[in-house]
Amino acid sequence: MKYIKKVLGEDLRQYTMVVALVALIIVFNIASGEKMVTSSNFQNLISGNAYVLVLALGMLMVIVIGQIDLSVGSVAGFASMVMAITARQFNLPWYIAILVALAIGMLAGAWQGFFLSRLGIPGFITTLGGMMIFRGGVIWISNSISVPVPSELKWFGAGYLPEWGPAFTGMNNSTLLLGVLAIAVYIIIQLKKYARSGDITGEKEEFWPVAVRIVLVTVVIGYMTWIFGSGRPGTSFPIPGLILVILIILYHLITERTSFGRHVYAVGGNKSAAELSGVNVKRTYFLTMLNMSILAAVAGILFVGRSTAAGPADGTSWEMDAIASVFIGGAAVSGGVGTVIATMVGGLVMAVLNNGLMLMGVGADKTQVIKGFVLLAAVAFDVYNKKNRR
C-alpha cells in the first residue's frame, strides 16, 4: 500500500473512477465478444463523444463556481446553425463560418454572464431562459430544416490525421508521432520535477516511484497510440479527439495554474471569503459563463462536422450529459470541488457505458435507465466516502 501511494500520490480515492472506467472497458470487451477494444470502436468512442466532453470542460467550471448552465445544448445548436447558414446561404468560406459560430458563442455567453454577474439572477434561471431563447432561435432561423455544412467542416467532427512516412511501423505515423511526443513530454516533466523535489523541504524524493510512474504512463500512452494508430489505413487518432486533448490540457492549466482558475474555486468554495480576499466575484462569474458558451459553440462545430449538417434539434438535452459527466467526476453540487481530469474520466464512463451497451444491442430505453443508476451510484459513493472521512 505504501508503495502504491508513493507512485500514485497520497489520495488514492481520486482513482476510483479510473478503476471503474477500466473495469467497464474490460467487462464490455468480454461481454461484446472483444468488440469494445478495437481501433475503430475507440475511434468511434472519441469522435462520437468529443462534443459532450468539450461541454463538460466548461460545465465543470460553471459547477465549481456554484452555478449551473442549462443552455449549453441550445447555444451549441444555435451557434452551429448560424455557422451552417452563414456558410451555405451567404457562401462564406468555412473558416469564416467557424469564426461566426465562435462569435455567436461568445455573445451568448456574454448575455448569460451579464444577467448572472451584473443583475445577480441565478444561473439556473438565466440559462433556463437562454435554453428556451436559443432553442427557439435555432428553429426560427432554420425553419425547422437541417442545413448541410461545407465538407471542410467534416474534418473537425470526423476527420483523421494525415498518413505519411514509412509503412513498416504498421501504424498511422501521425498518431505514432503524437504518442511519442506525449511520452517524451511526460518524461521530461517528471524528471524536472524530480530534480527540483528537494529544494523546499530539503528531502530528496526517492527515484524509483518516478521511474515506475514513467513506465506506467509510457505503457498506457503507448498502448493508446497503438490502438488508435493501427486501425484501417486512413484512420488515426480522430481530429475531434485531438481538439479535445488540446482543450483538456488548456483547461487543466487554466483551472490549476492561473489566477482565474483559482478564483473560480475560491468563489465556489466561499464567495464571501473570496470577495474579502480580493477576488472580483462578478468578473469571475461573467468569464465562467462566457467561457462555457464559447465551448458550447466548439461542441456544436464538432457535432455538426460529424453530422455534415446542422439540424434544428441539435443540442437537445446535451446539457444533461455534460452535467452528469461533471458529477460522476466527483464535483460537488454546492460548488468549489471538481477537476478537469476527473470530469473527463466521468464523461468517458458515460461514453463507454453508452457504447458498450449499444455494442451489446441494448436499446436506448434501457441504456438510459442504466446511465441514471450509474450517475446516482457514483455520486452516492462519493458522498459516502466524504462522510466516512470525517
Partner: protein
C-alpha cells in the same frame, strides 16, 4: 480498504496485459472482416460489392444459419408505423436466417449515429436506416461505406452523404398525386358542379417528403386552378405558405381557423388538400367549429381514428402506406445483397445533395369508404374499425 486497493491494482494490471496481448486492432492482424473489404469497396463502389466473403466470415462469428448480419436503425418507436416496422423487421429478418440488430434512437441524432457505428462494429453487412434526420448521418454512413457495409434508407431519403446505396419508400410525389385525385373525385361526388372552393395544406418542412407530397398534388391541381375549376380562396398556393411546421396538428388547426375567419364568412368551403390524417382531422374539426359543412378532405397514413372517420363519411379519403409492404421490399433487397447479387435494378433515382441514389418506390393505396373493406382485408385490426 486494503483489499479494495489491491483489487483495483490487479485490475489495472489485467487490463494492461489483456490489451497488450492483442485484442486490439492492428493493420497486419485485421481482426474484423469489415476492415478487410474497405479498400476494395472504395475502388469497386460502382460494381456489385464482394459481400460474399465478408458475410461468411461474419456468419462464423454469429450463429445464424444463412449468414449475414443486418442492422436496422429506427428513429423511435413512438408512432404506430415505426412500432409495426420494428416487429416486422425482426420477424422477417430472423425468419430469413439473418442475425438481426434493431435499435431505436429515441429521436436523438447523436444516439442514432452511435448506434449505426456500433452496428458496423458488430459486423453488419447491411444497415437499414430510418433516419431521425436524414441529413445528419453523413460521416457515419460514409464510415459504413468505407467498411464495406451496404446502407439502405428506409421510408426517408438519406441526404448529404455518399454513404447510401438505395432508398426504399412509398413514392412521395405519387402519394401527393393520389391525394389530389382523391380530393377531385370527392368534390365531384359530393359537391355538385364546379367551381369548387378549396384550401391547400402541406407537411412539416423538415421532412424531405413533405415538399414532394405537395409537388405531386399540385401537378394534378394546378391546371384546374388555372382554368378556374378550383378556387383557392385564400390565395395561398406556395408550399412555404401552406406548410405545417413539425407536422403539428394544432398549428394546422389554427391556420385553418384563420383562413375560415378571414375568407369564408359568406361562402362555403368544398374541399381541403391535407398531407396526412392528423392534419385532416384538425381541418375537419376547424370547419365544424366554424359552422361550415364538412369539406372533402384528403389524408395519409390510414391512422385508426381516420379509418373510422372515412368509414363514417366524415373524412373523404386517406392513403394507406402499408408498413408490411415496405418492410417486405426492404427484406427482398437485403436478400439480393447477401446472396451476392448486389442492388436490384431500378430506374428511379433521387439526388440527395451529393449523389444520385437509387430509389425503390412502392405505390401507396387510396382508401375511401367504397374500397376500405378490400384494402384492409388482410389487416384484422383495421377491419375491426369498419364495423361500427
Amino acid at each position: 480498504m486494503k483489499a479494495k486497493k489491491i483489487v483495483s491494482m490487479l485490475m489495472t494490471v489485467a487490463v494492461a496485459v489483456s490489451v497488450l496481448t492483442g485484442c486490439g486492432g492492428g493493420r497486419t492482424a485485421e481482426p474484423t472482416s469489415v476492415a478487410d473489404t474497405a479498400k476494395t469497396a472504395e475502388t469497386e463502389k460502382t460494381d456489385s460489392k464482394p459481400t460474399g466473403n465478408s458475410s461468411e466470415s461474419n456468419a462464423s462469428e454469429g450463429n445464424s444459419s444463412k449468414g449475414g448480419v443486418v442492422g436496422v436503425a429506427l428513429p423511435w418507436l413512438g408512432t404506430q408505423n415505426w412500432a409495426e416496422a420494428e416487429v416486422m423487421f425482426k420477424e422477417q429478418l430472423e425468419a430469413a436466417g439473418y442475425e438481426t440488430i434493431i435499435q431505436a434512437a429515441d429521436q436523438k441524432v447523436p444516439q442514432q449515429q452511435q448506434q449505426i457505428e456500433s452496428m458496423i462494429e458488430n459486423g453488419a453487412n447491411v444497415i437499414v436506416v430510418g433516419p431521425v434526420d436524414g441529413t445528419q448521418l453523413g460521416s457515419v454512413l460514409e464510415k459504413a461505406k468505407d467498411a464495406g457495409v451496404y446502407v439502405i434508407g428506409y421510408d426517408r431519403l438519406l441526404e448529404n452523404t455518399t454513404g447510401v446505396d438505395g432508398i426504399v419508400q412509398f413514392g412521395s410525389v405519387k402519394t401527393g398525386e393520389l391525394q389530389a385525385q382523391a380530393l377531385l373525385q370527392g368534390l365531384e361526388e359530393l359537391k355538385g358542379e364546379a367551381p369548387y372552393n378549396i384550401e391547400l395544406f402541406g407537411g412539416g418542412p423538415a421532412d424531405p417528403n413533405a415538399p414532394n407530397f405537395f409537388k405531386g398534388a399540385m401537378t394534378v391541381l394546378q391546371p384546374l386552378i388555372d382554368d378556374g375549376t378550383l378556387v383557392v380562396v385564400s390565395g395561398q398556393t406556395e408550399f412555404t405558405q401552406c406548410a405545417t411546421a413539425d407536422w403539428d396538428n394544432s398549428k394546422a388547426q389554427s391556420r385553418m381557423d384563420a383562413i375560415l375567419a378571414g375568407n369564408y364568412s359568406d361562402i362555403e368551403i368544398d374541399g381541403v388538400l391535407s398531407p396526412n390524417d392528423g392534419i385532416a382531422r384538425a381541418i375537419i374539426t376547424s370547419c365544424e367549429n366554424a359552422g361550415q359543412p364538412i369539406p372533402v378532405v384528403s389524408g395519409l397514413d390510414a391512422e385508426n381514428e381516420s379509418v373510422k372517420w372515412v368509414w363514417s363519411g366524415k373524412q373523404y379519403s386517406t392513403v394507406a402506406k402499408p408498413t408490411n409492404a415496405l418492410v417486405a421490399k426492404t427484406v427482398s433487397i437485403i436478400d439480393s445483397l447477401l446472396a451476392g447479387n448486389g442492388m436490384p435494378e431500378t430506374d428511379v433515382t433521387a439526388n440527395n445533395g451529393v449523389i444520385d441514389v437509387p430509389v425503390y418506390e412502392l405505390p401507396p393505396v387510396v382508401v375511401t369508404k367504397d374500397n376500405a373493406k378490400e384494402v384492409f382485408a388482410d389487416d384484422p385490426d383495421r377491419m375491426a374499425l369498419l364495423t361500427e
